[in-house]
């Protein structure tokens, strides 16, 4: 474990675990995330802490994380000196929440080298443990989170009760504090206009369907997050089963719809959509982040369905990340106006995808 540091200044091309592009069902399930909400006794919950108390909490947790024997090698980033652009980059990499990036309260995040584990300190809860695994792997992600949670429980006096389980700031997280989410790429369901039906089914069995960046974010580029809503009264194994069952069905549904989109008269329309997207990526001079996400989504589908050759899913995943405003500006090492960004994005995506000529 190293000392707290400022955010890395180097341009970052590694997409991080959540966009690694491998793992089971990776053509549709991009990544699985386990999130645990934990709080300490002896401190009010984070939203009620003043600056001094926040600092005390942060220092206390960091000291305990730095004790030996933690199952993960974590690097601690003190967020206070981190400027806005770097914060945006951390949000885009799913290492901190948008809320955390916006606050000036003392806090930070402990991250492993692969960015597959990120522990937010002093977010809405004192601790938000996140573990990412590529593809659909709830069990693997859970086991890793559980091991880390065991070690944290040994080091920190967690707030809990036999009746309510882990006590959290918001009652929507009380109990297990576990939110298991799977990020899905569902162009088939979107294009065939079955996505509303699919999300309604998920919601009926108490699963939340959200956009790429969690609560309140829109589903851009056909990317959706499916997660459990109930955290109280169902144990961790049941929650995993609930999510796995629902996501399994959605994956199967997406496969069937994709199959239909590639058959008969539908095939040429699908091919047209994919090729137009590719044409835009290859030729456009101005690309907004929304349009870029839409094109990249179509290209990702095109690669999975073998409609296009010469492009790699891994490159598309990198492009997805680099087309985000924070990464784009950090990569070019300058803060740009939205229109300059859109021009730069068009050029950069060609480089990343390997179609720069």
């Amino acid at each position: 474990m190293s000392k707290p540091r400022r955010g890395d200044k180097q341009p970052e091309f590694r997409p991080g675990t959540w966009l690694a592009g491998n793992g089971p069902e990776n053509d549709i399930a991009i990544c699985t995330r386990v999130r645990l909400a934990r709080n300490l006794q002896g401190f009010p919950f984070s939203p009620c802490l003043d600056e001094t108390e926040s600092r005390q909490l942060f220092d206390f947790i960091v000291a305990r994380l730095q004790q030996t024997g933690l199952p993960e090698q974590l690097k601690i980033v003190d967020l206070l000196p981190v400027e806005e652009l770097e914060r945006t980059v951390l949000v885009e990499r799913h290492l901190i929440s948008r809320e955390m990036a916006a606050t000036k309260r003392p806090g930070g995040v402990a991250v492993d080298a692969e960015e597959s584990v990120a522990v937010m300190i002093n977010e809405e809860d004192h601790l938000r443990v996140q573990v990412f695994a590529p593809g659909l792997q709830p069990a693997a992600a859970w086991q890793r989170a559980e091991r880390l949670d065991d070690a944290l429980i040994q080091r920190l006096p967690m707030a809990w009760s036999e009746e309510f389980g882990f006590l959290t700031s918001c009652p929507t997280n009380t109990g297990t504090g576990l939110r298991l989410s799977v990020m899905l790429h569902l162009p088939g369901l979107v294009w065939s206009e079955e996505i509303d039906k699919a999300t309604n089914v998920a919601q009926k069995i108490h699963l939340a369907v959200r956009g790429l960046y969690g609560e309140g974010s829109r589903a851009l580029g056909d990317f959706y997050q499916v997660s459990n809503q109930v955290t109280l009264g169902r144990d961790e194994a049941q929650i995993q089963n609930d999510v796995l069952l629902a996501v399994g069905r959605m994956v199967q549904w997406e496969r069937e719809v994709r199959g239909a989109l590639l058959r008969g008269s539908a095939r040429v329309r699908t091919l047209d959509k994919v090729q137009r997207a590719l044409g835009t990526l290859e030729r456009a001079q101005i690309l907004t982040s929304e349009e870029a996400l839409g094109c990249l989504s179509a290209l990702r589908f095109g690669i999975a369905a073998e409609l296009v050759q010469g492009y790699e899913t891994a490159a598309v995943n990198r492009a997805l990340l680099l087309s985000q405003p924070g990464h784009l500006q950090r990569h070019t090492r300058e803060v740009m106006k939205p229109e300059e960004r859109d021009q730069r994005r068009a050029v950069l995506l060609r480089e990343v995808l390997g179609c720069a000529r």
Partner: protein, 171 residues
């Protein structure tokens, strides 16, 4: 009644005494204005129970933060039932007991359940000593007594002890 020795115009309200080893070696009677000019303001009412002082001392048991002073506020963080209802968030672990009656139907609505199933620190084992509720209650009571008796040094010491205990550190 005596006129101010400095301006000779106003009635003296303040006596400035020169002290040498406890013995008065000289004195000066001055009016309010001259006293202020000399940097000796009118003596203020003794700070019997300043809000900050009390808040600081009671940090371990209640943090009114200038708002939740109602008797039904949470003793852990000072959150009032009205605040809890408007935000729908709890202020500290103790709020779960304080707002229990309001919380139960809320949990039922969100989770269709009111009791936990699953992992618990005690089951995980080897937990960093759960705070002993009896000694916590004991220290809390001694702290309240100390504050009531205006024994601030003792109260500050007890507050720190309480915080340590709550965090599961050895006192």
């Amino acid at each position: 009644m005596q006129y101010c020795t400095a301006c000779q115009k106003a009635i003296a309200t303040t006596i400035i005494m020169d002290l040498d080893n406890g013995a008065v070696t000289g004195s000066q009677h001055v009016c309010q204005a001259c006293a202020e000019q000399l940097g000796v303001g009118a003596p203020k009412a003794p700070p019997k129970f300043s809000a900050e002082m009390l808040e600081d001392l009671l940090g371990g048991i209640k943090q009114p933060r200038g708002r939740g002073k109602a008797s039904d506020a949470c003793a852990g963080c000072g959150m009032t039932p009205a605040e809890f209802r408007s935000k729908g968030r709890l202020g500290c672990p103790r709020c779960y007991e304080t707002f229990r009656t309001e919380l139960m139907p809320l949990l039922q609505r969100i989770h269709e359940a009111q009791a936990h199933r699953g992992r618990m620190p005690a089951v995980v084992g080897a937990i960093a000593a759960q705070p002993d509720e009896r000694s916590l209650a004991d220290v809390r009571k001694r702290l309240e007594d100390a504050v009531r008796g205006e024994r601030y040094e003792e109260a500050a010491r007890l507050r720190d002890e309480l915080r340590r205990l709550e965090r599961g550190e050895a006192s």
